[in-house]
Subunit: 297 residues, 4 copies
């Protein structure tokens, strides 16, 4: 039985760890807050009391953490993964962080005898629960192959997209597209409501043509009902757009719509709506159109 240490049991990490457990992995979980660890135990996993405790003896180490500094700390600090895991262990970081940071972790890990993959995911809480995430993987071919059963346990669309860091690059592109598509959908739906059109019928016909998208399928209803329960939080998407705009600037790539979408998400976050679902962009467009009395919460 393969032992996998799972660090970070939040809204995404918890169901992913549970799916690994029910797929036959021996999952040892660690999270800063204890209740999350207890829930993993209830789901068939084992509890660890620290990162070091979790990774000691594990064949595979998985991390799912909020931001670049969290991942760097957990993996490279003195009491972290590289310092305590078994030489040769496979380290899979599911977090969404800066591509350069992933590339650096891969290089440092290699020097220390580890195999490191960056494997950020898309699909949200629902995808994590159902085990239907899309996983975009950067790293060496043989490491990607070695991680096959892990990926199969958490995702449905699993693609190796290139060298170390490439998974993050693709995830950044994903977040760029999703942010922009949400903003466009919000604009379109406010436009339709302002004209007194049957929005439910409109969403149906829009979905059947070139305007169709997963965002339209999954988020139009949430927008029209103004129920911005996450899902994927504005604050995290705002953080991701910082990664996108930095990476685009460094690469000299023009992202006019992407940077404008980043402004709108940043605005939502600054207004205190960081904990809402990113479909709350609808509320912002409503306010910008004078069609909302109340705050978007």
């Amino acid at each position: 039985m393969t032992t996998i240490a799972f660090i970070g049991l939040g809204i995404m990490g918890a169901p992913m760890a549970a799916n690994l457990s029910s797929s036959g992995f021996d999952v040892v979980g660690y999270n800063r807050s204890a209740p999350a660890v207890e829930r993993l135990v209830a789901a068939g996993g084992r509890a660890a009391t620290s990162v070091a405790d979790a990774v000691t003896g594990a064949d595979i180490v998985a991390t799912m953490l909020p931001d670049t500094p969290d991942v760097l700390a957990v993996i490279t600090d003195g009491d972290g993964v590289f310092a305590n895991a078994r030489p040769g262990a496979l380290v899979i970081d599911f977090s969404t962080i800066k591509p350069q940071a992933s590339a650096r972790l891969a290089a440092e890990g290699k020097a220390a005898g580890f195999r490191v993959l960056d494997a950020p995911v898309s699909g949200g809480e629902q995808g994590a629960v159902e085990g239907t995430l899309s996983v975009m993987v950067g790293g060496a071919d043989q490491d990607f192959l070695a991680a096959g059963e892990v990926f199969d346990a958490v995702g449905r669309t699993i693609v190796h997209v290139g060298h170390a860091g490439s998974g993050q690059t693709v995830k950044a592109a994903n977040q760029l597209i999703v942010a922009g598509t949400l903003a466009l959908l919000a604009e379109a739906l406010v436009f339709l409501e302002a004209h007194g059109v049957d929005t439910e019928a409109a969403v149906r016909v829009l979905g059947g043509g070139l305007a169709g998208s997963t965002v339209l399928e999954r988020k139009a209803g949430q927008m029209l009902s103004r129920s911005y329960k996450p899902g994927f939080r504005v604050g995290l998407h705002h953080k991701d757009m910082g990664i996108v705009t930095d990476a685009a600037r460094n690469a000299g790539v023009a992202i006019p719509l992407g940077s404008l979408a980043a402004q709108l998400l940043g605005s939502l976050d600054a207004r205190g709506d960081g904990s809402l679902d990113h479909s709350a962009l609808f509320g912002l467009v409503e306010e910008l159109s004078g069609r909302s009395e109340a705050k978007t919460a």
Copy 2:
């Protein structure tokens, strides 16, 4: 056998008329340039020598024309539809024009004893050829029901979205979303190429998550191969974005991303790329990123 006059046999109108013919309608076609009419005859239709000639005696009149003034002229001029068609005839305008113009035509038509529907479509040339268009219909319930067989012959997703003009409003929302999604995809793909990622693999995994869209499915390949054969021309989409921005302004709706996408399409058009497919937005983003030696043609 129901006789349907079809005015406007262009890139979209021609296959729609042919599909109506093969669905059992008696189709009488008219187009300003003769070869288009001859092609309809080859496909089983009949030729008319003028709008008046086409609509005289027809049960149904269908129009598929480039812009608002064309439709107004064909339908309301002295030698046009209202002046020559049979009283009570059903007039279905498939063109994409200003919502107010459609509402006005419906009112004038009603006063003159006609039943008028606005029924713009989405799905492009491919959808027109395959008879799988999305049709968004504005007008009275009973007129929508009466047109059922016509819509079934040309489309797959057929939705009645509200009062006269509503079809155009939904089409405008469609064009807003499509323009923006194309721009976002272009930004994302240039971003991926700039980072040396395997773009084909990336497109696959993006399609499996929340970034998935019909635009991604149908246009990513065209962008990556820089083959901007239409499809749907930049010039027409630029025209449509004029309708969108006007209607949004009149309704007081904020469309920050939509108006920026309109700027990019307008730029392509101004540079002389109006006859390319709208996926040529990729070429524009490439140039803005210093990644293209040549013009986007």
Copy 3:
């Protein structure tokens, strides 16, 4: 003594007419609401009871009206200027309207024996009161020369910029620059306040360098004190940006920043802030930055 009919005695027209009166013109004023006419009489002018009454016998006719349809009605309707003014009269339209409309009025006026100038102004209420407006004039050379004393009475910077309609084109460019500069100043000031900088000192030093502008001089204080008393109303600037975006679209000119500034002004207007000074853009940027509890009114 030269008699000048002045149609439109609003926030701008009233002080302009008063300045003409005190410069020695015999001013006959008309306005739809009577109190404005009475105020002109108190300032030394004469009252007219209709457009026809005002223009009959006048040497010069001046108009200062809100929007294109108002100007077209007052000048071309059956009871309007062309129908009632003395043949050969000089018609000076100070309103800000569509360039094409001005060009059309000039052509129609010429056919009817009138000399027509488009002469939109910049400088706001303060400039109108002080007689220091900038006047941008389109039309024939000799007509521009003939209007010299009129322009001197209301403005300080008076420039003939080209053929009929050119005054409006330059005014459109003016409104584009002003809207964008206001938005940029709002962004910069919110940025400075968020960083705890001494904004008064900052405004002083910004004004001494390449960031200096008339907008900075005149509007920074109004922004920082959140007192959006017009001045120039959001609703009118929003109207003007419609002219700008239309004209840019027709000419195939890219105005990415201008169209985004138009979105922000449109948003203010849609939210019910149309009667505030356009410096209220500061309030909108504050809200977008989560730095404002209350509505911007």
Copy 4:
């Protein structure tokens, strides 16, 4: 006689050092490339062979360097300012760098017994040559007062805007406004040319009203003549916009127009126009409007 070490004798630093010399300071200059040092000697200064050589014994140390890492290296490295300058020396950094970096240098300098001011400037090469720069100063009151004669030798508008780092914050706001104003002016001038207006007359009248700005005065001519000789280089302004967008993101401030202007400057830079004057934004808008055959160089 006060001895001032001047590190960084580029397009801005050279004339600033020369002005200090002719104002009676004993200026010891250092630059990585020797000819710049020789030119200073010709202007009355003395040559140093290294940073350490320059600062040893100086009363005041001035730095004028391209970017944050350059300043950090020159000031904090083992062979740099803090390691070699006289305890108590006044360190004035004229460079434009990240506000946080300036705040950190001030704190580290204080700990090491130095008095540190951030004093970025505005006004371009012309302002540096004429000694008419605007200087925005962050730091302690008494240090600002102590630096008075230095600032008077290089600038005209000298303002103390707050605590350490505030100079950089104000400079960031300055660059935001300038970038956006340049873009707006470019859009307006292309718009005017496209309409066949007399642009020279138009620039005159625009300057007299609310659209007037220092950018209009100094850059319109350069734009209309397409001579993009710096002046202030696109590459540096692009670098500065990275500072602006980062600082705005960190502070939660919405800068929709600023970030779009940053995209345009980034695009110019990516296309290889980094060494042109930032007025080259005109060339980019021309291309986006299909009005330019050639590249903007």
